[in-house]
């Protein structure tokens, strides 16, 4: 299971790849980093695909900062059933 720090770094890398910026801090607003609503939507789709958290669209769209995104994903992945 990934640590919060690992998830945070992956979230930053995914945003940087999508938005072509390295200027991302824990308290950066995800809404302000995205160029527009479609890019924001695509970013959320990317998070869901990468972290396999398909039921969390509304939650994901409700968070504000990069830190919030990483915390939400960390919490969701901790709750996810273990596949054996």
């Amino acid at each position: 299971m990934k640590s919060y720090e690992q998830i945070y770094q992956e979230v930053v890398d995914l945003i940087a790849a999508k938005i072509s910026t390295r200027d991302i801090a824990p308290h950066s607003s995800v809404f302000e980093l995205a160029t527009d609503s479609i890019q924001l939507f695509e970013l959320v789709m990317t998070f869901e695909e990468r972290f396999k958290i398909t039921a969390s669209y509304e939650d994901m769209m409700s968070v504000k900062t990069v830190n919030d995104v990483a915390h939400l994903i960390h919490r969701k992945t901790q709750l996810a059933p273990v596949r054996i």
Partner: protein
């Protein structure tokens, strides 16, 4: 530029309307502070939205209010609203912007309203699959490939305008709303409500779609 529909007034502003002093000329002190706090690449789009909103508000109130006396702010939900330095009762406002166009729509405060503007883009097929319903995808398949990007942009813009009207914006998944596009209007089928709406869309320029939804 102001456009008047039977149910709503909307304004469209492009970068051609901006001068180096637009922010200082049209913003209240609080708005100016917000403008300067934004990343450089966001400032122009934000300003275009404010400029469009203030023109729409002036026209709606048939008022000679100075633009800097109209203060636009966002509620915690992100929905825009405005204050006037007069006793005039504010209407309902919605605004949207891209990097080169700002739009704003206003109607009386007994209604709800949502507006969206988008540039026609080369859509990633995965994104289209994510935001469309099965019926919408079938309709897109029936369109020639050269017109598919335009049609997908109309669908997105219609959904976003409607979700803004509801006050949820994209916190509600756009797939929960099904859009059927007709000539300059669209029909909304909402999974969760029977909201009746008046709708309008236009291809403002070759690469720009504007959609409006109001009750």
């Amino acid at each position: 530029m102001i456009h008047v529909l039977p149910f709503v007034t909307y304004s469209v502003q492009t970068t051609a309307q901006l001068t180096p002093h637009t922010a200082e000329n049209i913003c209240s002190p609080a708005e100016l502070a917000r403008y300067h706090s934004l990343p450089d690449i966001k400032q122009t789009a934000w300003l275009l939205g404010r400029l469009a909103a203030k023109e729409a508000i002036q026209h709606f109130h048939k008022s000679s209010l100075s633009r800097s006396a109209i203060e636009i702010f966002n509620h915690a939900t992100g929905a825009p609203d405005y204050r006037l330095d007069t006793t005039l009762e504010p209407g309902r406002l919605s605004l949207s912007h891209t990097t080169s166009i700002g739009v704003a729509a206003i109607t009386d405060n007994s209604r709800k309203i949502g507006i969206d503007v988008e540039h026609v883009r080369n859509w990633d097929p995965k994104t289209i699959t994510s935001f469309t319903t099965e019926a919408e995808r079938q309709n897109l398949e029936a369109v020639s490939p050269t017109k598919r990007n335009l049609q997908a942009t109309i669908l997105w813009s219609a959904k976003e305008a409607y979700l803004k009207l509801l006050g949820t914006g994209l916190t509600r998944h756009p797939r929960t709303v099904e859009i059927t596009v007709s000539k300059n209007t669209f029909l909304v089928a909402d999974q969760y409500s029977q909201q009746t709406t008046k709708t309008f869309w236009t291809q403002y320029t070759e690469n720009c779609i504007i959609a409006i939804s109001t009750t």
